[in-house]
């Protein structure tokens, strides 16, 4: 059990790096609290797996350091770090029984037999593998196999962190839900640090207390699901989290006022002085846009009904704006005016929130 710290971490798979694009990870600084349930969220290719492999020690970072409980472990092997990692595809030892699969990491570490037996049975009970405990592992279904991988990760009681690399990819949708709640339950039961990598926001938001959002090799925001939803610190977070994502519109900042389509907009983070960003935008979630008497003039393009809500696609001079409205609300046709809730409107400079 320990706190994990990553300091100024950068990684590149190339020998020489000339531009930002050559780096898989750029300047990562983060603390993982002991016993926390974290999700590492981001699109494919953003560096999630690289980051995970650096924490586990399968990969040595090009720059920067990894600390476990303030002890430098950057050059230590996975065994020395004492971590567990579960991969995207079930990794099982085909020739062994389920029992021996679960016992394998313990046997390798010289744990006495009676202790192994106790621990394996406990894990099997927890994962509902008791019935097939003495069957050959290769005969199980995909989710059964993934449970074995999971079980091997949980078998050792003293691991510093358990990491999951999109572990539910090969699992049927209905079992996905079952296994996910199982993981959540396990976290509460064993209270160990867990890092869960995924590109699925639902998975991340249901599993984690803290969600770490990655984009292009950088961590763009860390926070609770509510924080990520209510105050995205990066336009990518706004766009990636929430369905539909945040509306992002180019804006001008003149003498401390934010202007979209020539109309003054009040935002939560008013800027006092003149800024020197190459690009300024405002972000507002569709939930906080409403129709009003005056505001930004828009044309209504399409109304889609999702049941409880209607999603209205509109267009102003600077771009498209989506509006989420309760299905009982009356929707104007043709053209209308939109107003933004000031509390939930943010100004972004070069994609980052201006503070």
């Amino acid at each position: 059990m320990s706190k994990i710290t990553l300091k100024n971490l950068s990684h590149s798979y190339l020998d020489k790096q000339s531009s930002n694009a050559d780096w898989a990870l750029r300047n990562i600084n983060i603390d993982w609290r002991d016993g926390g349930a974290y999700a590492l969220l981001g699109p494919s290719g953003c560096g999630k797996t690289t980051l995970l492999n650096i924490i586990s020690g399968l990969l040595n970072p090009t720059k920067g350091k990894v600390f476990f409980n303030n002890k430098d472990v950057t050059l230590k092997t996975p065994v020395e770090r004492n971590i567990a990692q579960i991969f995207q595809f079930p990794v099982i030892y085909d020739t062994m029984t389920v029992y021996n699969n679960l016992a394998f990491p313990l046997k390798n570490r010289g744990v006495p037999d009676n202790e192994i037996d106790k621990r394996v049975k406990e894990i099997a009970e927890m994962l509902e593998l008791t019935k097939t405990l003495y069957n050959r592992a290769s005969g199980l279904t995909a989710d059964g196999k993934q449970k074995i991988s999971l079980g091997r990760g949980l078998a050792r009681s003293d691991v510093n962190v358990i990491m999951f690399d999109e572990p539910l990819t090969v699992i049927d949708p209905h079992l996905k839900w079952v296994l996910r709640s199982k993981l959540k339950e396990l976290h509460q039961k064993i209270n160990r640090t867990m890092i869960y990598v995924t590109h699925d926001q639902t998975e991340a938001l249901t599993f984690a207390d803290q969600v770490v959002v990655m984009h292009d090799g950088e961590i763009v925001q860390t926070g609770t699901p509510v924080e990520l939803f209510e105050k995205p610190k990066h336009t990518f977070v706004g766009y990636f989290i929430g369905s539909p994502g945040m509306n992002i519109l180019p804006c001008e900042i003149l003498n401390g006022t934010t202007i979209v389509d020539g109309i003054k907009i009040s935002t939560n983070n008013e800027i006092k002085q003149k800024s020197n960003f190459s690009k300024t935008e405002i972000g507002i979630r569709p939930e906080f846009v409403s129709f009003s008497e005056d505001g930004i003039p828009v044309k209504i393009l399409k109304v889609s009904n999702t049941g409880r809500y209607k999603i209205i696609d509109t267009e102003c001079k600077s771009g498209k704006i989506k509006v989420l409205s309760h299905s009982s609300n009356k929707i104007p046709t043709g053209s209308a005016f939109l107003s933004f809730d000031k509390k939930h409107t943010y100004t972004y400079g070069d994609n980052r929130i201006i503070e």
């Binding site: 085909d94 394998f104 390798n108 570490r109």
Partner: protein, 288 residues
């Protein structure tokens, strides 16, 4: 599902059928014909029934050749399979070393069999061959044309040189298809090198190794050209394996009937061993 009936498909099968008939079925039937009859040429045949089969099965000469054959095949399998796996394991997994190793490994396989025999014959000659001369200089009394042990040693060494590459290439292909996650998981589980080999690499190589063993069994059991060129079956009959003995009988002594019977027995032994081996491997597979 309704099958479309289209008799034209037979036209596509006919060429293969004719080809197989002429290169396998017709010659095999000719051998069967010879095996049950006696002939003195001029297309005159006399029915002999199972006489040749009884004669071959009781003949000490056949027993000895069969014994030598199993011994030879057993020895080369015991050497080539572990050696092939060991070489495959130590080959580089990426980089410029991969193509270099693969080309080097394929070289012996590309050399015609009689050339291999001739090469090793010259290489091992006690007076002028590099191997033979060096061994004698080092104080070994080595002469593969005179001493039985040396003849066996040279034949086995030649076969190992010629065919281990096949096992290497197959094993290497099997190893390359193992996903990196297996090694990563094993590393995290704290598995030793031996445990990784025993529980990941060997099980994942099982299918290619089955093929490797089958191929090496069949090829070595039917070996002819290389020992024929190297030792000619000698000294005496010491390295006269089944096919060498068969050719001696058929073409040397012109005993066509017994030779045909022996060919059929030979053929059934190969078939039987392959069938038993394959079924054992497959039954193992089903048990999973």
């Amino acid at each position: 599902m309704n099958k479309t009936i289209n008799q034209k498909a037979w036209f596509f099968v006919i060429p293969v059928f004719i080809l197989v008939a002429f290169n396998a079925v017709v010659p095999l039937m000719t051998v069967v014909n010879y095996a049950f009859q006696e002939t003195f040429g001029n297309n005159v045949f006399m029915w002999e029934g199972t006489r040749w089969f009884k004669q071959i099965l009781r003949s000490e000469r056949f027993h000895a050749a069969l014994g030598r054959q199993f011994l030879f095949t057993g020895i080369i399998l015991l050497i080539q399979i572990p050696l092939g796996i060991a070489i495959a394991l130590s080959m580089p997994k990426k980089g410029i070393g991969v193509p270099i190793c693969l080309v080097l490994m394929s070289m012996p396989l590309l050399i015609p069999w009689n050339v291999v025999g001739a090469m090793w014959n010259i290489f091992a000659l006690p007076e002028i061959g590099f191997l033979g001369h060096t061994l004698n200089d080092l104080g070994f009394d080595y002469n593969f044309t005179q001493q039985i042990g040396d003849a066996w040693f040279t034949t086995i060494l030649m076969d190992v040189w010629h065919w281990t590459s096949l096992v290497v290439l197959l094993s290497y292909a099997g190893l390359q298809s193992i996903q990196p996650a297996y090694y990563q998981a094993a590393e995290i589980d704290g598995a030793s090198k031996w445990a990784i080999f025993r529980h990941i690499e060997l099980p994942k190589m099982k299918k290619v190794l089955t093929i490797a063993i089958l191929l090496r069994f069949m090829d070595s059991f039917m070996i002819y050209t290389e020992p024929f060129v190297l030792t000619g079956g000698g000294p005496g009959n010491a390295t006269a394996f089944l096919s060498i003995d068969l050719v001696k009988m058929a073409l040397g002594q012109f005993d066509l009937g017994p030779a045909a019977a022996m060919s059929l027995i030979y053929f059934f032994i190969v078939l039987l061993v392959c069938w038993i081996f394959y079924n054992l491997m497959m039954r193992n597979e089903e048990q999973k």
